[in-house]
Symmetry: C2
Subunit: 219 residues, 2 copies
């Protein structure tokens, strides 16, 4: 069993490393975890001793396969609990993340396997992110963002990149939900904003900060 802190660090490193592929900086981890860089150095030394990360002083850190497995298990729990909160307890998609941050650390394989079954073995969480299976295997996340499209392109919304309440509440407001069909009608070079047709809703113009955080499938 690993501590709550260790689990959170591994999860942060996993996410920052682009799903375990790249090396991660101390400062980036510190920012993600909202701690001092010195604390990160300490924790990395500890994770390294336990073979959960590969580490050489001053050279950044990569997550080991053992560490990745633990991170993916925590992510699995996080996302299954988010599905539970939305599907069974009628939470909105912008209300689930903080609670899931707590629930993801509950230790019980029986619990999580039965929760999975109770939810009908969902493949995606309420934000469109794939749910790892019990072996720590996860479907790849598409990489096309709305910001990459051109006027005339049509797409379907797959996933929100950011799980902040601010983004999700805004997407609700402009009626962009998972699965929504969009058409890019105009691109404004001055600030990078996009004008869109949203199926079943009014046309809108949204900033590049928003389009960069919407993952889509081109149609």
């Amino acid at each position: 069993m690993y501590s709550l802190s260790e689990e959170n660090y591994l999860k942060a490193i996993y996410h920052l490393s682009n799903n375990g592929e790249e090396s991660v900086n101390t400062n980036a981890i510190a920012e993600e975890m909202k701690t001092a860089p010195a604390s990160v150095s300490d924790m990395i030394r500890k994770l390294s001793k336990k073979k959960l990360v590969n580490y050489q002083k001053y050279r950044g850190v990569t997550i080991s396969s053992k560490g990745k497995y633990i991170a993916l298990n925590v992510i699995r729990k996080h996302r299954l609990w988010e599905v539970f909160l939305v599907e069974k307890l009628s939470f909105k998609w912008d209300e689930v993340h903080e609670v899931a941050e707590q629930l993801e650390h509950i230790q019980s394989n029986q619990l999580i396997e039965r929760l999975d079954e109770h939810l009908g073995f969902p493949k995606f969480d309420p934000h469109g992110d794939p749910i790892p299976n019990a072996n720590g295997e996860i479907a790849p996340i598409p990489t096309t963002t709305l910001s990459m499209l051109k006027p005339g392109d049509k797409c379907r919304v797959i996933c929100a990149k950011d799980s902040s309440s601010d983004l999700l509440v805004y997407l609700d407001k402009i009626k962009i939900s998972l699965g929504a069909r969009l058409e890019v009608t105009d691109f404004h070079a001055f600030d990078g904003s996009f004008s869109l047709e949203v199926e079943g809703a009014n046309p809108i113009t949204i900033s590049s900060k928003v389009t960069e955080n919407i993952i889509v499938e081109e149609l």
Copy 2:
């Protein structure tokens, strides 16, 4: 917000004090919490500073109304989660306690109120214990145990006093479940054991250790 440790101490003190009515010894708390008495002294001083308990050195400790409110809120969460595990995830009544010990510390009023609603506002947990309401009010627990009855007496099982897996598995084995109707057929003075008729099951003889842990309503 109080720490996991503080919550567990308050819960222990609440239970040991007979629902807040009596004073509790350091050693009793230490045994319940499986810690050294010295650790209990430290924690009591801390809880006392926060006005969660009333304390005079060497004189034992009583829980304050603020402390009782917190303890009952943790107990509420514990018991609601136990209902969830049994009703929604098909756990057996002897499998829920350890997981509920973790889940009871999740901090979210929204979560617990929606869980309560999702479960249909249950009044009792899977072991027959009453569930406190959101204001920290709790129904009294009956005090008649099976061990108090005499041959010829009939009763209905209300509640298991002990939540250990060992007791609960044993009760399953001899077909004593909540609501079961029993008739005392014989009392054996030598060891205090009882012979019983169990409605819909075979007659049995059980030890005083078991009869003392079954709360019943006489019929």
